[in-house]
Amino acid sequence: MTMPQHDEKVLLEIRNLSKNFGGLQAISDVTLDLPAGVITTLVGPNGAGKTTIFNLVTGHITPSSGTIHWLGEPLMGIAPWRIARKGIARTFQDLRLFSHMTVAENIQTVMERSSWLWQRQTQDMTEKLEQVLQETGLIDKRNARAVDLAYAERKFLSLARIMASDSFLWLLDEPASGLDPRSFDRFVELLKTYAQRGVTICIIEHNLDIVIRLSDTVAFLDQGHILAQGSSDEILKDPHLAAIYFGDR
């Protein structure tokens, strides 16, 4: 997938976005920009509405009000698969791997965008598959089913799928949670590498280490509102936000 020509530096513009689930206000008047090449982290306590923002951007749910624009074009009302084909890919907190498919098949599937009966395997796809398997350290597990992988390997497979998708905006929902220190370091390095290659990344993360090591900008959410946005230093050292995050308010 090639990045479409666009003069603006902001890839994704979210304006006054709100989402109600019946009487529950999940997101309220959220305004957020995701500039090209910038790693943005969404932090906040559970239930703050972070994943809801991802679900709204990827079209899995529709907003109650507000707008989302991708490279200047509105995304509201567009099916998730069409949004994915525009270059926005995501991972899920609960991974949602294709459990009974092999590691290689999981990766191949995201490269095959056609939904028709047949799509030819190109040399580029084969090379991309090998590259992604190599980079994620899953080369020896290529024929293992996703369901049979260890936890860390599943996390890397989740990342491998998004790497293979050739998308240029990655929405990562708690991608590194539960990783051991060695895997964690490898994971962070991979994200840095892809960010340097031009991928724009937005991460939901509770692990403050990843927030500090990766983020260019951090948005702090609580009860559906963005309370503050700034550098990781500014956000994480704010005693008021820390009190909310750790439940001491």
Binding site: W81, R96, L97, S99, S115, W116, W118
Partner: protein, 294 residues
């Protein structure tokens, strides 16, 4: 004796075709349909009607049956696009009931409860198929063809799309899979393949009657797929062989009184299903392990 075995073999091949077609949506796409017998019926009635009124050409009947089944499969695809799991099973049950009602009531086309009688033998490239052995060759050739087509489809990009949908529809969508297109195509392919079983059946029996296309048949086909192994290429064939062979084998057991044969068959079927699901939930060709999702 040979004629009897050939007859069993033809019926086995027809059932294996139907089970393979069902496995295509059930095993790979996770669409559990209880309406498979309807497409079997559509194939049989189409072949019977065309042979009686239009042409006795086998290829014409096959093409028409596949086309009509694929189009009518949209009735099954529609609920499949909206609901999954047990909700879809209930919807397909409704379609099965509608199908049987139409088969038995649309007298001008299906012959009603009396069915279509005297379907002439099919002609292919000027050769008329009449003997059981010729039908056996035809059925096995079509079964082999469907096996090859299924293998090509499920091992290619479409098969991966189907399995992705089965394992996580939301993730498949998030990676650009048009779920509606994939589901609709899979149901159409399955219906078209199932109709071929109906075509062979109509010509082989030279008689088409609604009693064969009931819910019981749909359940039996589902049992064949589960016993053999859902989501495996050879599973439905193994499942069909076992389900077909069991009644035949039981007739040779001298200690079973002929009057009790039907009852004992049912008990053995039931026990086999229970034991299989307990000890080999993936089916005979599938794995031992219980399915999980990650």
């Amino acid at each position: 004796m040979l004629a009897y075995l050939q007859n069993i073999a033809v019926l086995f091949a027809i059932n294996a075709i139907l089970a393979m077609a069902l496995n295509f949506i059930m095993g790979y796409a996770g669409i559990f349909s209880l309406a498979q017998a309807v497409f079997f019926g559509i194939g049989a009635y189409t072949a019977g009607y065309i042979a009686l009124n239009v042409s006795d050409s086998l290829l014409v009947s096959m093409a028409a049956a596949m086309g009509i089944s694929a189009v009518l499969s949209m009735a099954l695809a529609l609920p499949a696009l909206r609901v999954r799991g047990e909700y879809f099973v209930a919807a397909s049950l409704g379609l099965q009931m509608i199908g049987v009602t139409i088969f038995s009531e649309w007298k001008s086309v299906t012959g009603g409860l009396g069915g279509l009688v005297g379907v002439p033998p099919p002609v292919i490239f000027g050769y008329t198929l009449t003997s059981t052995s010729e039908f056996l060759v035809l059925a096995l050739l079509i079964l082999a063809g469907i096996l090859v087509v299924s293998a090509l489809l499920v091992r290619g990009s479409f098969g991966r799309s189907l399995m992705a949908l089965r394992d996580s529809e939301s993730a498949a969508q998030a990676y650009g899979k048009n779920v509606n297109t994939v589901k609709t195509l899979s149901v159409a392919v399955s219906a078209a393949l199932a109709s071929l079983g109906g075509v062979i059946y109509a010509f082989y029996m030279s008689f088409v009657n609604v009693e064969v296309f009931t819910l019981e048949m749909s359940i039996l086909l589902m049992a064949m797929v589960i016993i053999g192994g859902t989501g495996t290429l050879l599973g439905p064939i193994v499942g069909a062989a076992i389900v077909m062979a069991l009644p035949a084998a039981l007739t040779y057991l001298p200690f079973i009184p002929p009057g009790e044969l039907g009852t004992i068959q049912q008990i053995i079927y039931g026990s086999a299903m229970v034991l299989l699901m307990m000890f080999r939930p993936g089916g005979l060709v599938g794995g031992r392990s219980k399915d999980k999702t990650v």
